[in-house]
């Protein structure tokens, strides 16, 4: 058993800032008094997501999108193996986690853009009712994805006896040497 440095500071700061921005936006959504706080939190979340996308397109090791490709088929296969109790141990994001991560990034972007358009009513797309529904479903859908995400994190943490939450704070993951593989080798397993 060794400790491996996986999450760079950008990813860790991005992650916990996004959690805070999301929580603030949700907490303040219902009151007109908090409207300005709500939209600022939303803009922060949007800026974080955009920055993460740029970071993912660069050569940033485990944080690079190349190291956790979006592949729904692998995601289902991995989930199936988890249920059979023979899932492989990934150093970076596992394929199921990756699918949820991409879904969260995309839904988050839709939530921010639709919120922005709702706030600036009549600007660009003058369909208030449509935009409000879009903001409603994208934000609540995002919340549903977060629930799935956190459940997945907890399940993997327990199954692999590896505290992923702590890893997202310190950057270091406990990695079993036998299973160690570099991102490029993920493909060979499928």
């Amino acid at each position: 058993m060794i400790l491996k440095y996986v999450w760079d500071p950008f990813v860790r700061i991005f992650h916990w800032s996004l959690v805070v921005a999301f929580a603030v936006a949700f907490y303040t959504h219902a009151s007109e008094w908090d409207r300005l706080i709500h939209i600022r939190a939303g803009y922060v979340a949007g800026a974080l997501i955009l920055a993460r996308i740029v970071w993912g397109l660069m050569r940033t090791g485990y944080a690079s999108f190349d190291s956790f490709p979006l592949n729904p088929l692998w995601a289902v296969k991995h989930l199936y193996r988890v249920m059979q109790g023979q899932a492989k141990h990934y150093i970076g994001h596992n394929p199921t986690g990756a699918l949820v991560i991409y879904a969260m990034l995309a839904t988050g972007l839709i939530a921010v853009i639709s919120g922005w358009l709702v706030f600036n009513e009549g600007w660009l797309i003058d369909e208030p009712a449509l935009l409000q529904s879009l903001h409603h479903y994208s934000t609540w859908g995002w919340l549903a994805l977060v629930v799935i995400h956190v459940s997945g994190v907890l399940v993997e943490s327990i199954l692999h006896r590896d505290n992923l939450i702590w890893a997202m704070i310190t950057g270091c993951k406990r990695v079993c040497k036998i299973n160690e593989r570099r991102p490029q080798e993920i493909k060979d397993n499928f």
């Binding site: 009151s31 300005l36 009513e121 009712a129």
Partner: protein
């Protein structure tokens, strides 16, 4: 691609349809709230535009020290364009007589009532207050100034 176009068209015509719904919906909603109000209190005499107007303009001191009324954002004349007292953004007229899109979507109306009543009076409004409110809005049909 064609399927997508059809779906988009259907979605658009659906929103167009809900937009063309007129004051009939507001009247229906007013009746609905009035029924609830009667159930809760048999002495409720029916929607009162006078009470609605009083409620609309009544300034209430909030727990956070602010003082506001529904009119603070929706302006003293609900047939006029309002102005959000926090963000400064314009708000389309609230009166369904001027703005036919108002009070057409029950779910949205319920949500906005709950949230704004919570903002101003600190709890949801009663069915009687809502019925009176709509009754009052239905009497405001002339914008005071040209927008």
């Amino acid at each position: 691609m064609k399927k997508l176009n059809f779906a988009l068209l259907a979605l658009l015509s659906l929103t167009a349809l809900s937009a063309s719904a007129d004051v009939a919906n507001a009247v229906k909603l007013e009746k609905k709230y009035a029924t609830f109000a009667k159930n809760a209190n048999p002495e409720y005499a029916g929607p009162s535009a006078v009470d609605g107007k009083f409620f609309f303009n009544r300034k209430i001191k909030l727990a956070n020290g602010k003082e506001a009324a529904c009119a603070s954002c929706h302006t003293a004349n609900p047939a006029d364009q309002g102005k959000h007292m926090v963000t400064g953004k314009p708000i389309k007229p609230l009166s369904p007589m001027v703005n036919h899109k108002r009070f057409s979507d029950v779910e949205k109306v319920e949500e906005q009532f709950t949230e704004h009543c919570n903002d101003i009076i600190g709890s949801d409004c009663t069915a009687a207050e809502k019925a009176n409110y709509i009754a009052y809005l239905l009497t405001e049909k002339t914008p005071s100034t040209k927008q």
